[in-house]
């Protein structure tokens, strides 16, 4: 941070043989290191990053412990069922718990606002329950939680501005800019040198955080309880996260240097950049959410459930007087060439349950996919100005790579529904094969229930994530490229005389 009052050392371009940009970078680096206020800022930022890392680590570990315990307890309840009718066991169902992704320690994303447990019961695709935000001591508290993503998005971008806002304007105020240009240093080399020094400082600050997350991937080992453990994928995701944040912060460095080159004074540059930082970090995410909500609203929970219930009225469920049931019965009897249910070689009850389930799957798929499509549409609209207000692009990318966005939640609920269907198919097949038509209530042995596995969540591959968020990644690249272009055009106007 250089203010007009400071007496800057005379420019020393001691090694003309080296690239001019590198020489400028070395000089800038020395000045950055010498500034005691910047050293203080760097130490504070580093401490904040480490605190966020520790908070994320502890939180992820606790949630993983709790969910693993819940999974084991639910499994023991499932296994504790004695001999019983398989369909009664399907009604009892299992619970699917969303395992904590290891990168949630870097960006908890929307995890506090989505449920982490789903009851997988017969006939119904239930919604995820238990949003942690509801149990927060003070709902809607000022500011955000302490997370690496928050520090990177809000504070590191501010640090980039504070490091760069006086880059050109400060030199102009001290009179050193003219001297440097008079020496024949090209403005673009000056820009490249300053950008390299500032980016280097940011990189050094971020390195411990990246190493911390990398170590977390190998030490936390959260997902072994769910049978998923792919460190390679997590490391790839971390790499992609680093690229996304590098683009985000590089844009801020370039923008700050561009504004500094154009502004009349350091103070004007600082005011403009702070206004942009505030708009990008705090105003844009909330304003865009509110506008998108009123422009493309979602149905209420009751409307959503009513629409499913209306479609499900076409199904017969357990209603043997339903026209669809009567038609199905006639079809089955015709297929087997018999006139009475008692003459069927398989259980009619099992067949009818399977038929009803399959028709239900199509209804659930249609409604849940439409709801997620509406959420996706909102997200896409919200991120539309991402190349101009990069927080709107970096937030979805960061959450997606950390596995904590709404697409990952949908991925979890879809897999959980897949597991529910697996349970339904197994119990219906067992009924079809073993229950006798017209006989006493059939009871399957406990071994059948023990043979049905617990839910094991598989994270989507990084390829799926990157494809899903390609537009936001492109917006981030455009932001960084646009700011660099703006900086190059801004410094091109600088003249020695």
């Amino acid at each position: 941070m250089q203010t007009g009052e400071e007496v800057a050392p005379a420019p020393t371009l001691a090694r003309p043989a080296a690239s001019p940009a590198l020489t400028v970078a070395r000089r800038e680096w020395r000045e950055l290191v010498r500034d005691s206020r910047l050293r203080l800022l760097a130490v504070v930022s580093l401490l904040l990053l480490l605190a966020a890392l520790i908070a994320g680590f502890t939180q992820a570990q606790r949630l993983d412990r709790e969910r693993s315990a819940a999974m084991l307890a639910d499994r023991s309840l499932w296994d504790g069922q004695g001999a019983k009718n398989p369909h009664a066991a399907a009604h009892f169902g299992q619970y699917a718990f969303k395992p904590v992704g290891v990168l949630a320690l870097a960006d908890p994303g929307v995890d506090a606002h989505v449920g982490a447990a789903i009851w997988l019961e017969a006939h119904k695709q239930n919604e995820a329950q238990f949003r942690p935000a509801r149990d927060s001591g003070l709902p809607g508290r000022a500011g955000n939680g302490l997370s690496l993503a928050f520090i990177l998005q809000a504070l590191l971008s501010l640090l980039a501005i504070l490091l760069a806002f006086a880059g050109f304007s400060g030199e102009r105020e001290r009179g050193t800019l003219r001297q440097v240009l008079a020496l024949g240093v090209r403005p673009r080399d000056l820009l490249a040198g300053k950008a390299m020094a500032i980016s280097g400082a940011l990189f050094i600050l971020l390195l411990p955080a990246a190493i911390g997350v990398f170590a977390g991937i190998y030490t936390l080992d959260l997902e072994h309880h769910s049978g998923v453990s792919d460190h390679g994928q997590s490391v790839l995701r971390l790499g992609a996260l680093a690229v996304a944040y590098a683009l985000y912060l590089a844009g801020f460095v370039a923008l700050a240097l561009a504004v500094s080159a154009r502004a009349k004074s350091s103070r004007a540059a600082l005011v403009i950049l702070l206004a942009f930082w505030l708009a990008n970090t705090f105003l844009a995410p909330r304003l865009s959410s509110d506008w998108v909500r009123s422009f493309a609203p979602l149905p209420s929970a009751q409307q959503f459930r009513d629409a499913i219930a209306a479609d499900k009225r076409q199904l017969f469920g357990h209603d043997e007087s339903h026209p669809a049931f009567v038609a199905f019965k006639a079809r089955v009897l015709a297929e087997y060439g018999v006139s009475r249910i008692e003459d069927l070689p398989v259980s009619f009850r099992g067949l009818s349950l399977r038929e009803d389930d399959h028709a239900g799957y199509r209804i659930f798929d249609r409604h849940h996919a439409a709801l997620q499509a509406a959420i996706d549409r909102q997200d896409a609209l919200r991120a539309l100005p991402g190349a101009l207000l990069p927080s709107l692009a970096v937030q979805p990318v960061s959450m997606a790579l950390a596995g904590t966005d709404s697409r990952h939640q949908y991925h979890f609920t879809t897999q959980a529904e897949g597991h529910r269907r697996l349970i339904q198919e197994i119990v219906s097949d067992d009924l079809i094969r073993n229950a006798r038509n017209g006989g006493p209530d059939y009871q399957a042995p406990p071994a059948l229930f023990a043979s049905i596995p617990s839910f094991a969540y598989q994270h989507p591959s990084i390829g799926e994530v990157l494809t899903g968020d390609a537009r936001n990644l492109a917006a981030l690249a455009l932001w960084a490229f646009g700011c660099t272009l703006f900086a190059l055009r801004s410094v091109a106007r600088l003249r020695a005389v």
Partner: protein, 481 residues
């Protein structure tokens, strides 16, 4: 003497007002603030209305379901149709109906709900109650885009707590330093009035303008927004206005304090932005982390596990009973005895549901105690930052805080017991059928909110004013030197 001071203060203020009228930056800040307040009122109202609509849809669905059951029971009682063959479709079966109707229990918004509309979204606007254990209805949520919940709403709390201080700081960061840098400070020093009075007048205008705009816009906006649906919430508006003035006084006094340190304007701006960051972002972030680490959110899965275990235990008990019977009376007798009639099965279902309810209630009570402890710690930590304290006080005024939702949960608890007594204890457990007349006597939900309201707004206002006084007194002493 006092009159003289007042007159000098007025002269200084009038002079500053003239200067500010010609400054386009001042108009820009005021216009942005006004636009933010208008947007916040619109956003807040939209959220409140969406929640009211969601409750109306729930009530409508409940009314339709009830009407269908009434039509069906009338037809059965008059002999026009036969009773359904399955108990869960029978409108006379109290156990089945107790879980089918799902009465809507809503916490109605208070007139100032739009002030902290975002905070209210942590909780569902209403629940549809069931006679089963509370986990079957307590955690059903409204549909929301989670990214929106995570970003927060652009409501008045956000504007007043986050944006207003920035506007105040933008107008006051160079209150004294700017004069020094322009060389006009000595002119002020030469005036017959004391420096404290001259700069007091300047501070009054620079702070008074945005605060005045805020008070007018917020009060007029809320009056307009609530005009059709509520009586004008005068007392709450007075409290909100007092809070805004006290909170703004703190930031103005802080700006004056930083100016009194006699640094240049650029450093003043950075120091004040740093203070804003610390109070508005960092302390809240650390407080959140600390309260979550000290009292982590309860593992809610325990509730479902507790109620599910009731079913498994009941099955085991039945199996053990049958085994004992078999040992005592032989296989053939056990087979005959094992065949239970529909009435016994229903009583078994009721017993399992009752045990599940008791177990879930015990776990929920433990969880609620832990959440309350976290809330108490968060409330204490709020005193570390004026932003947190102001936000907590405004959330209380808006009726969207945890304390009011806990009252709602207590009312839900009472209603759940009434509902269970009506259907289960008084009818299903005695194997009595529901009649058409019973449908007119169903228990109704109501929340009896306890007065007096929260003391937090008053406490917060006093704390801000005290802090402002302390900072301002240093400023006055510094100018006197």
């Amino acid at each position: 003497m006092r009159l003289k001071h007042f007159s000098e203060l007025r002269v200084a203020a009038c002079f500053e007002l003239k200067l500010m009228r010609r400054d386009p930056a001042v108009w820009l800040v005021l216009a942005l603030l006004l636009a933010a307040i208008v947007q916040a009122l619109v956003s807040g109202r939209a959220v409140v209305e969406a929640r009211e609509r969601a409750v109306a849809v729930m009530q409508d669905a409940e009314a339709k379901q009830r009407a269908e059951l009434v039509t069906q029971i009338e037809a059965i009682e008059s002999g026009r149709i036969a009773a359904p063959d399955r108990f869960y479709r029978d409108p006379r079966n109290a156990f089945a109906v107790s879980n089918r109707i799902g009465p809507t229990a809503a916490l109605p918004p208070v007139p100032l709900a739009l002030v902290a509309a975002g905070a209210g979204e942590a909780f569902p606007p209403a629940v549809r109650l069931r006679a089963g254990s509370k986990d079957s209805f307590l955690f059903t949520e409204e549909i929301n885009n989670p990214a929106h919940l995570s970003a927060g709403t652009f409501d008045l709390v956000f504007v007043l707590v986050f944006v207003l201080p920035l506007c105040l700081l933008a107008l006051t960061y160079n209150l004294v330093s700017g004069e020094r840098e322009q060389g006009t400070f000595s002119l002020n020093a030469a005036s017959p009035a004391s420096l404290a009075t001259v700069f007091g007048g300047k501070l009054l205008v620079r702070g008074g303008l945005p605060v005045g705009v805020t008070l007018v816009a917020v009060n007029a906006g809320i009056a307009l927004a609530t005009y059709s649906s509520h009586a004008l919430p005068l007392v709450s508006l007075i409290w909100l206005s007092l809070l805004v003035v006290a909170y703004a006084s703190f930031w103005l006094a802080l700006a004056a304090f930083v100016n009194a340190l006699r640094r240049d304007s650029a450093l003043n701006a950075l120091t004040l932005v740093g203070a804003w960051l610390v109070f508005v972002l960092l302390i809240p972030a650390f407080s959140t982390a600390l309260s979550e680490a000290t009292y982590p959110a309860p593992p809610r899965a325990e509730v479902i596990l507790a109620s599910r275990s009731a079913a498994i235990d009941a099955e085991r008990d039945r199996a053990a009973e049958e085994a004992r019977y078999r040992d005592e009376y032989g296989e053939t007798a056990a087979k005959t005895a094992g065949k239970v009639d529909e009435r016994t099965r229903m009583l078994q279902r009721i017993a399992v549901q009752t045990i599940a309810t008791e177990r879930a209630d015990a776990v929920l009570a433990r969880h609620d105690a832990r959440v309350d402890e976290q809330a108490r710690l968060a409330a204490r930590l709020a005193f570390l930052s004026p932003a947190m304290l102001a936000e907590a006080a405004m959330i209380d005024l808006s009726g969207n805080g945890r304390a009011r939702y806990r009252q709602f949960e207590a009312a839900l608890d009472t209603f759940h017991r009434e509902w269970r007594d009506f259907f289960i204890a008084e009818r299903a457990a005695r194997s009595l059928p529901l009649t058409r007349a019973d449908y007119d006597r169903l228990p109704r939900f109501s929340v009896r909110e306890k007065a007096p309201e929260s003391l937090l707004p008053a406490t917060a206002a006093v704390v801000f004013l005290l802090a402002a006084l302390m900072l301002a007194s240093y400023y006055v002493r510094s100018l006197g030197r």
